[in-house]
Amino acid sequence: LSGRGCGGVELSGLWGRGSERGELQPNCSGWTCRAVLGDGHQRTVRRVAWSPCGSYLASASFDGTTCVWKRHEDEFECVATLEGHENEVKSVAWAPSGSLLATCSRDKSVWVWEVDEEEEYECVSVLNAHTQDVKHVVWHPSQELLASASYDDTVRLYREEEDDWVCCASLEGHESTVWAVAFEKGGERLASVSDDRTLRIWRRYNPGNQEGIACNGSDPTWKCVCTLSGYHSRTIYDVSWCHLTGALATACGDDAIRVQLHQGWAALSMKQFPQYPINPSSVTLHCSASVLRTSVEAEPSRRNRPRVSFSRHMSLMALAVFPVSFLE
């Protein structure tokens, strides 16, 4: 599925029918272009998202609108055009329940939309927590908790309270635009990536937690427990956390994809940089159990063996820096 810059949405799908052979693209084995939704938007389509049930497709565009398309086999019918954002919509995401949609924009706001059985969409909240352009919105895998990433260097979390939505947390730490966030399968951790070239892992501490982290009323507190720096040499634009394997993948402006496998990090497409060597001597991984910090620096001479100082409160942390793994 791809968004196209001239205003159209191009749809590709993998099907088992042989009669489609005439449409086969030479380089895409098995993939054929099934539909082109060219009339929905007037500007770049920035993001597309399938609904959890698979019957609907939402498309977010720089033209300020979000379209919802209903799928009838290979035909798509635009069943709603969500308007309201003042300028470019950057992201759209469906909640796991399928009845909520979130959008965000350069207008600094995050909108939550509700859809009823009659396929009617209604905006139920306009959230103005961010102070700059909002780049990405993503829902918690199982709860109605929303996360947003922004040009204001923060990640914000939102939940429903009575009849409205409120911002219940602000994750601060990144030193530049946060481009994307991803929840871990269980929803207790969040990964964020930024223009500051770091990947951060945030962990949720619920009220009454055994680590003794203070919480505000019934809201959990999120703390940054891991910062991976010195490993990505340019802006990191996207992150994806596999719910099946726990693997974390990052998309970086240095043309490389990096995947954290079970035991450590590997670069799938390697590039040599004079100032960012592949076996870096400057990768620092700051991880903490509760509020304590450990600094790890890779020493090239001690192959893959970090120098780690443990505090006696630390119960975790098997670390091997490049490859790197972090466990709690």
Partner: protein, 131 residues
């Protein structure tokens, strides 16, 4: 190092003829860009990191971002070698330089700005070489 120097000259050759959005002069004539403001580092096999520092003529925010946009667009189109580009306002020349630097290096903001017909027209006029 010689390669990097040659590349820097290539870059400068492309940007010096860009016209200022307001004045009927090139960026070189107005000393908005200088040879010394172009830095090139080799970051891979035939790939270079290009860093440009420019000095806008007036401390007006929108003009500075416009110049940044012109620099980016022209290089995107004309630079023949693989590169990554960073553009900054020379330190100390602008009160909101951090804000401007952040905008002009945000590829999504740049792409969206170039879809604005008015802005695009201005940029086209600044970067297009006269026949």
């Amino acid at each position: 190092r010689a390669m990097e120097h040659d590349r820097a000259l290539e870059v400068y050759d492309i940007i010096r003829t860009i016209r200022d959005p307001e004045k009927p002069n090139t960026l070189e004539e107005l000393e908005v860009v200088t040879e010394g403001g172009v830095e090139v580092q080799e970051i891979g096999e035939d790939e270079y990191l290009v860093i440009i520092r420019f000095t806008p003529t007036v401390p007006h925010c929108s003009l500075a971002t416009l110049i940044g946009l012109c620099l980016r667009i022209k290089l995107q189109r004309c630079l023949p070698f693989r590169h990554k580009l960073e553009i900054y306002i020379s330190e100390g020349t602008h009160s909101t330089e951090e804000d401007i630097n952040k905008q002009i290096n945000d590829k999504e903001r740049v792409a969206a700005a170039m879809e604005n017909p008015t802005l695009r027209e201005i940029v086209e006029q600044c970067v297009t070489e006269p026949e």
